[in-house]
């Protein structure tokens, strides 16, 4: 019996020795990554401006969006829905996304982390848009827009 108790003690200590925390491995993004997919030999995709409805125009985007690149869009922490508007010289596109969010303490030495997940397209007039990964995580591509 005493050997059994000693064995259980050892087992309990082994299960406890796995608390390794590292601020650097926070995997959560606060931006949505998207990619524009089209045939670059036939035409180019150029947005005059990208606007977040209710907030205004985003800056820093190139004139032409290349199909081989990923671009990022900021998320709205204060709501569970966001509408991005893409203005071109001919058609104005929009896409409205819904999502859930969660605040978590990743590590005491880090700032509080925000996790965005359950990303869904609520409404869009884009010809084809697809949620690739519904969680903003490790800079993976979340949204594909096809032209």
């Amino acid at each position: 019996m005493q050997k059994l108790v000693a064995g259980l003690l050892l087992l309990l200590f082994v299960t406890a020795c796995n608390d390794i925390e590292d601020c650097q491995v926070n995997p959560y993004n606060d931006v949505l990554w998207f990619q524009v997919i089209y045939d670059e030999d036939e035409f180019v995709v150029a947005f005059d401006s990208i606007v977040i409805q209710g907030y205004g125009q985003l800056t820093g985007y190139p004139d032409t969006l290349l199909t081989s690149f990923q671009y990022s869009l900021p998320m709205d922490f204060e709501n569970e829905q966001i509408t991005y508007q893409f203005f071109t010289d001919s058609i104005d596109y929009f896409i409205t996304l819904e999502y859930d969010k969660e605040v978590r303490i990743f590590d005491l030495s880090c700032d509080a982390a925000i996790r965005y997940f359950n990303l869904e397209i609520q409404e869009t007039n884009l010809d084809s848009a697809l949620i690739k990964i519904p969680e903003l995580f490790e800079n993976l591509n979340n949204l594909e827009i096809h032209f």
């Binding site: 019996m1 005493q2 003690l9 309990l12 200590f13 796995n18 978590r104 005491l108 996790r115």
Partner: protein, 232 residues
């Protein structure tokens, strides 16, 4: 993991049950001989030393032959002050049975193995500064009604120091934890259990705790302890 511990529980109790000859204990063996009340000394000391935690805990146990019915109750408050402010506070209890594995000890010392059901009812909140589309804001979030439940496999040692004064250790294997009531804030500190996650990413369902108790024993009757049977 769950089935492994189930097998361990069954094996331990089966082995322990097989060790006793119940006929030698007399007709009153199931009549309680004492009530023992205790205070968790580590929590009291920790409250004075820790920068973020305040907690206290008491317990009461009553014996039935070589078993103890145990009830433990406590309160814990955690206040983390980092780049954010996180608070959790609530009450917890554990109820279960211990078995004395050295029942023939004449001095009444106890080496116990026990099983507990544990539950913590608590609230938590966070206040943090971060960037949004509107600029830098301070956000506050709260979980108003959280419940955590888990099982415990406990090992204890209680030694008599004075006539009615006993001190002892309790090592707790806290197992199969689950939480309900979480909203948009992921909980961090669970009163009575500890941290919710082990490395920021993986949920901690099992952990180990260590407690030190000071007990006062209220005798109810004289307990007859027979001599240990000699193995052939």
């Amino acid at each position: 993991m769950r089935s492994t511990f189930s097998i361990i529980f069954l094996a331990v109790f089966q082995l322990a049950l097989g060790q006793f000859d119940s006929t030698t204990w007399g007709p009153k063996k199931w009549v309680p001989s004492h009530v023992r009340i205790g205070a968790n000394g580590l929590r009291l000391i920790g409250s004075g030393v820790s920068e973020f935690k305040t907690s206290y805990e008491g317990m009461v146990e009553i014996d039935f032959h070589k078993y103890f019915l145990v009830f433990e109750y406590g309160h814990e408050r955690n206040a983390r002050r980092e780049s954010f402010e996180y608070n959790s506070k609530g009450d917890f209890f554990r109820i279960g049975i211990d078995q004395n594995t050295i029942p023939y000890n004449k001095s009444g010392d106890v080496l116990s193995i026990g099983l507990r059901y544990a539950q913590s009812s608590y609230t938590d909140n966070i206040t943090f500064e971060h960037s949004t589309l509107s600029g830098t804001v301070i956000t506050q979030m709260e979980n108003a009604n959280l419940t955590a439940r888990w099982m415990e496999l406990d090992l204890g040692l209680r030694a008599k120091v004075l006539k009615n004064l006993t001190m002892g250790y309790q090592i707790r294997g806290k197992l199969f934890k689950s939480i309900s009531g979480e909203g948009q804030l992921e909980t961090f500190d669970i009163p009575g259990f500890g941290r919710h996650k082990k490395n920021g990413r993986e949920i901690k369902r099992n952990t180990v705790g260590f407690d030190y108790y000071i007990y006062w024993t209220i005798p109810l009757r004289q307990k007859y302890i027979p001599p240990k049977p000699v193995e052939p």
